[in-house]
């Protein structure tokens, strides 16, 4: 059975104060160089919600702008505004930080998150006005506590939630000595869970998903939850499914750095193809740690710190409906332990090997979606344009294989990919942001084949020097294959012919012996 992509959702959360207080570039700098120029200048480089909202790549991420159209806007994009910017797009939304603090409180099951009373009164109605919110979420919002009580929590190692200098909430630690349950870890995990839930709520609305029909959820973010006896015990997936109202679902977490989402999609598609489950959701929330990760370079270049949003997404993989594009499970790409690390070996394993097995060439793919990092963020930081680098390597291999003229590399990069538009949130840009746009292009018949590529930096965990990569093709659905039905008469005819043939062969043998 084919596994099809029935819908997608993509959300962003504008989190400027979490950037300042929780991003690891900033927390590390406060420890090693607390009086640095960077920390002094950083607040001047923080964008307002409206600036983040009208930012072209963000509008492309939530589905308000075709990423191809980004080419019409000269880079950099941080000094330009999208004139049709909207908080809500066809895939999701860009949630303001104030409202996200409510989502974090709603995601908390252990009375660890407290918001300030005045803050709740001020923003509750605005939060409740969000059309994707369910009563399940709204009913969980507390009235809040007095500011003095919040300040007392901070004295007991809680992490503060701020709007500018105003303390509006706190996340408590969940254990006196357990380093896996500190307030810092809990804030990271609850923020990931909350943005995952937001993605799931948008999927329900944008894709028409019935929460009761979901069988299984796979979380593919980059956080770990557990206590000191099982630091990475999990399960973000089931925790998010619970508050999304997926009563009939269970789930599990798939980890693999930035490659995890592509692994998770192939696992989800396999579960559906095997008939184990009918509807599997692959989802992820965002990372507070990566907010402002390249902030030092952005401040040095006197530009806004564009890593001010957390990302989230959800992809609905379902049984073949004869309509939606399907995931080609027969021709998955994978970087193996023995593949090696030269660019040629990497691209061969991820791109040309699966294509060759499918009887296709590199030039037979209409859209490649390798790592989709926003170049506005990476170029000033010296990391180049990641999607373009990957597309050039794919084009170079096509040249080597004789399928593309050397002079055609730039055109290939221009036409077979789109500019990067996803925030540098690790697993968020990993090829996945193009599934929503590509699904629509495949449904409209604008493209025939799409390849999604994810890569993961395993070496960061210090267990191996290897990195990882996986890929899959998204193909148009040409309808449910008719099962060949054989009538009783035809069956009798086939059996009779077979027996006649067998008898004939026995007769021939007897004649030969005589």
């Amino acid at each position: 059975m084919k596994s099809v992509v029935k819908g997608t959702s993509y959300v962003l959360v504008h989190a400027p104060d979490m950037l300042l207080r929780n991003g690891t570039t900033q927390t590390t700098e406060r420890i090693v160089n607390p009086d640095s120029d960077y920390l002094k200048k950083l607040p001047e480089h923080i964008r307002s919600y409206d600036d983040a909202l009208s930012y072209l790549p963000n509008q492309a991420y939530i589905g308000n702008l075709d990423p191809v159209a980004l080419r019409e806007h000269e880079q950099p994009w941080f000094d330009k505004k999208y004139d049709k910017a909207d908080r809500f797009g066809s895939f999701g939304e860009i949630m303001p930080q104030e409202e996200f603090y409510f989502m974090i409180q709603a995601a908390d099951e252990f009375e660890l998150v407290r918001l300030e009373k005045g803050f709740v009164e001020e923003y509750k109605e605005k939060f409740f006005a969000n059309p994707v919110l369910t009563d399940l979420i709204k009913d969980r919002i507390h009235d809040g506590i007095e500011k003095e009580a919040l300040e007392k929590l901070l004295e007991d190692d809680a992490e503060g939630l701020y709007i500018g200098d105003r303390l509006v909430g706190a996340v408590k630690k969940a254990h006196d000595v357990d380093v896996a349950l500190t307030s810092h870890v809990l804030l990271e995990n609850l923020a990931s869970k909350a943005s995952n839930i937001l993605s799931l709520l948008h999927l329900i609305k944008s894709a028409g998903l019935d929460p009761d029909e979901v069988d299984y959820v796979i979380d593919c973010s980059e956080e770990a939850c557990g206590d000191m006896n099982q630091r990475g015990g999990g399960n973000f997936a089931k925790a998010a499914a619970e508050l999304a109202g997926f009563t009939n679902a269970t789930g599990s977490d798939t980890r693999g750095f930035c490659a995890a989402p592509v692994h998770a999609i192939s696992i989800a598609a396999s579960l559906v193809a095997a008939g184990a489950y009918k509807n599997v959701i692959v989802a992820a929330g965002g990372s507070t740690a990566k907010l402002g990760m390249n902030g030092k370079d952005h401040v040095k270049k006197d530009m806004p710190v564009v890593e001010d949003v957390m990302g989230g997404f959800a992809v609905w993989i379902g049984a073949d409906d004869g309509k939606n594009p399907y995931i080609d499970l027969e021709h998955l790409g994978r970087h193996t332990v023995g593949t090696g690390s030269s660019p040629q070996a990497v691209i061969t394993s991820l791109v040309s090997d699966p294509l060759e097995r499918a009887g296709l060439k590199i030039t037979d793919i209409d859209i490649y979606s390798p790592e989709m990092q926003n170049p506005d963020c990476t170029k000033p930081a010296g990391a180049g344009d990641v999607p373009v680098s990957n597309l050039k390597m794919i084009a170079a291999l096509a040249v080597k294989q004789g399928d593309l003229e050397r002079a055609g590399i730039n055109e290939f990069v221009e036409n077979r990919g789109v500019p990067g538009f996803a925030p540098t949130q690790g697993h968020i840009p990993s090829g996945i942001p193009m599934i929503g746009h590509s699904r629509q292009a495949l449904l409209d018949g604008d493209v025939k084949r799409v390849m999604i590529v994810g890569k993961g930096s395993l070496f960061l965990g210090r267990l191996t020097n290897l990195f990882d990569g996986v890929s899959f093709m998204l193909l148009p659905n040409e309808g449910i294959e008719e099962k060949s039905a054989v009538s009783g008469d035809e069956l009798r005819k086939i059996v009779a012919e077979s027996l006649r043939g067998f008898a004939q062969s026995l007769l021939s043998e007897e004649e030969d012996e005589q």
Binding site: S341, Q373, A383, G384, V386, S457, N465
Partner: protein, 43 residues
């Protein structure tokens, strides 16, 4: 003779460009002594 012959090399690679082990192998084949090799992730 290669310009890297007998030289000590520190290889800093990029996951989406040329990773550290690939740079190391090239440098070694050119006669260099790779004293440190790492791959970085900038995203």
């Amino acid at each position: 003779m290669s310009i890297l012959e007998g030289k000590k090399v520190i290889a800093i690679g990029d996951r989406d460009g040329i990773p550290g082990p690939a740079i190391s192998e090239c440098a070694k084949s050119a006669g260099a002594d790779v004293v440190f090799s790492s791959t970085e992730c900038f995203v």
